[in-house]
């Protein structure tokens, strides 16, 4: 299984989770886990997703996510899980 982490940071608005999840579904990216918190009006969401069946190359998917973020005025990053494992686990 090839996993990635999607992070979303920005001002809370209606439909953030829905928009991101829809985009994932469109590319056959399965959402495994979601955590989110709202501190004052700042919205922080992290999703662990399975990109094994993703119908486009992951780099393109990551770009699409970043573009979607821009449209909603949010910072959205989709990154390969391995970088986090490498940096934070021994």
């Amino acid at each position: 299984m090839k996993r990635a982490v999607i992070t979303v940071i920005g001002h809370d608005t209606v439909g953030i989770l829905a928009n991101i999840a829809t985009a994932c579904a469109e590319h056959k990216v399965n959402v495994l886990e979601v955590t989110q918190s709202v501190l004052q009006d700042m919205f922080v969401m992290m999703m662990m997703v399975d990109v094994t069946a993703c119908d486009i190359p992951f780099a393109e998917f990551a770009e699409e996510m970043a573009g979607l973020g821009k449209k909603m005025n949010l910072s959205v990053q989709a990154m390969n899980e391995e970088i986090f494992n490498a940096m934070h686990t021994i």
Binding site: T7, V44, A59, S75, N80, E82, F84, H88
Partner: protein
């Protein structure tokens, strides 16, 4: 198991603190390209480089996008050109420089290093010819970087080569005087040059290396500074600890990129170079780390001690994070490439003498320093000799990359742009070492025992 704090920390490091992989450098051996006919050799060199490095830039960009890690440079290092030139009947080195330039341009890399000669003990066939061609080669090519190793702990210093390099550095600046003397910024004079260094301008692929390999240089001064700033007023033991932990994380990222690039390109992984390489961008400065540790300005008393701590902690943290460590591995102190160094040099707090002392405890040496255009070749040669002596006696790499600012003097500025940055022309002690340099010969290798 990943937690939210770790994920956000990584993203914060990349987005706000300039965490990046500074370079993926493919080392390529040219030894099998040697041929008695120069043109045939140049064709072989071009073909071999482009065959192996064809996909280097694209692979680097793919990894960058997929992992979300900026990879600033994709580069090539080759066997010291003088070694392959040795086989040619006609030793017109400049033709080889053009062939390397064409190969670098075809591959789309930022730089190609290895227009080099190793002359620590004496000159072999092709060495002098190559060294004499350096000024022209660096003036007429865009991507080529050159280095010459003039000394080592085992061989001592080749003072004939040192004298030659004083003249060649000056000529290189003169030939590019209309372009901010940029040629000299691509020329490094080494003592104890590492053979697997991925960083420019001193990268070359040593004769003991495999046919092709991938070396990665990490960076991250901004991340270290931010971690220290967050820690506040802790003691120096804690400072060292924070730097170690941060260096570990930075290096793990470099190791990941190196392993991935090696797998995708089908080329063995060589080493990760554990270096803190600054850029002129605000927030990516080694000088600012020293100031965060507690100095009013880089260059003041305390700078050497703080740098020693930093350099050692970076290595200790990084070593455990990588399977193979090599290259220069330490903190870099290039003046024009570091916003904090530029400021300290401009204000007068950082002087050449202090920089020389700093090089005794950190990676590399006198790096990217603009000196007055009327500095004599003998003084440049003596600067090289002093720096090389530090490296020779302390069994470490030292290097000199000074840029004589032709037509300019102290207080003027040279501006190279990009990662090479800009900086003030710094004062140089003009007292003449001409007789010392004029003697030539060799400084014998130092004792490495009876150290009391």
């Amino acid at each position: 198991m990943l937690n939210a704090h770790d994920i956000l920390e990584t993203i914060h490091m990349i987005q706000d603190e300039h965490l990046d992989v500074r370079t993926i450098t493919m080392g390529i051996s040219l030894l099998d390209c040697a041929h008695s006919d120069l043109d045939t050799m140049c064709t072989r060199v071009y073909d071999k480089i482009t065959r192996h490095a064809e996909h280097l830039v694209k692979t680097g960009e793919d990894i960058e996008r997929e992992f979300g890690i900026p990879i600033i440079n994709k580069r090539i290092s080759v066997t010291p050109a003088a070694m392959v030139l040795a086989a040619c009947d006609n030793k017109d080195a400049i033709k080889l420089a053009y062939a390397l330039e064409r190969a670098a341009a075809a591959c789309g890399v930022n730089f190609l290093g290895g227009y080099s000669a190793l002359v620590q003990k004496g000159f072999g066939p092709g060495d002098r010819e190559l060294m004499e061609s350096i000024p022209q080669a660096l003036a007429e090519t865009e991507h080529i970087c050159s280095s010459v190793n003039i000394g080592s702990t085992k061989a001592g210093l080749n003072m004939d080569a040192v004298a030659m390099m004083g003249r060649i550095v000056k000529q290189t600046a003169e030939l590019t005087a209309d372009r901010q003397c940029i040629g000299a910024a691509k020329l490094v004079v080494f003592c104890n040059a590492p053979e697997d260094n991925p960083f420019m301008a001193g990268a070359f692929h040593g004769p003991g290396e495999p046919d092709v390999e991938i070396n990665v240089g990490v960076s991250g001064p901004g991340v270290v500074r931010a971690a220290l700033a967050k820690a506040g007023d802790c003691d120096l033991t804690a400072v060292a600890d924070i730097i170690k932990k941060t260096a570990f994380k930075i290096t793990r990222m470099g190791q990941l990129v190196a392993t991935e690039a090696s797998k995708r390109l089908g080329v063995p992984f060589g080493i990760v170079d554990l270096s803190l390489a600054p850029t002129p961008a605000v927030g990516d400065s080694v000088a600012h780390i020293l100031e965060e540790i507690g100095l009013e300005s880089c260059g003041g008393y305390g700078t050497t001690a703080a740098l020693a701590l930093l350099n050692d902690a970076v290595k200790k943290g990084g070593v455990m994070a990588s399977s193979h460590v090599g290259g220069l591995s330490g903190a870099f102190i290039p003046v024009t490439e570091d916003a904090g160094m530029i400021a300290a040099a401009t204000s007068g707090a950082l002087r050449l003498e202090k920089l020389e002392a700093m090089t005794a405890v950190c990676s590399v040496g006198l790096d990217m320093i603009n000196i007055p255009g009327d500095t004599t070749p003998e003084v440049i040669a003596a600067i090289i000799a002093d720096e090389a002596a530090i490296g020779m006696v302390n069994s470490k790499t030292t290097a000199v990359r000074v840029i004589p600012a032709i037509g300019k003097t102290v207080g003027d500025t040279l501006s190279f742009g990009g990662l090479l940055g800009e900086g003030p022309v710094m004062a140089v002690n003009p007292a003449s070492p001409a007789r010392f340099i004029g003697r030539g010969g060799r400084i014998p290798a130092p004792m490495q025992s009876l150290k009391n």
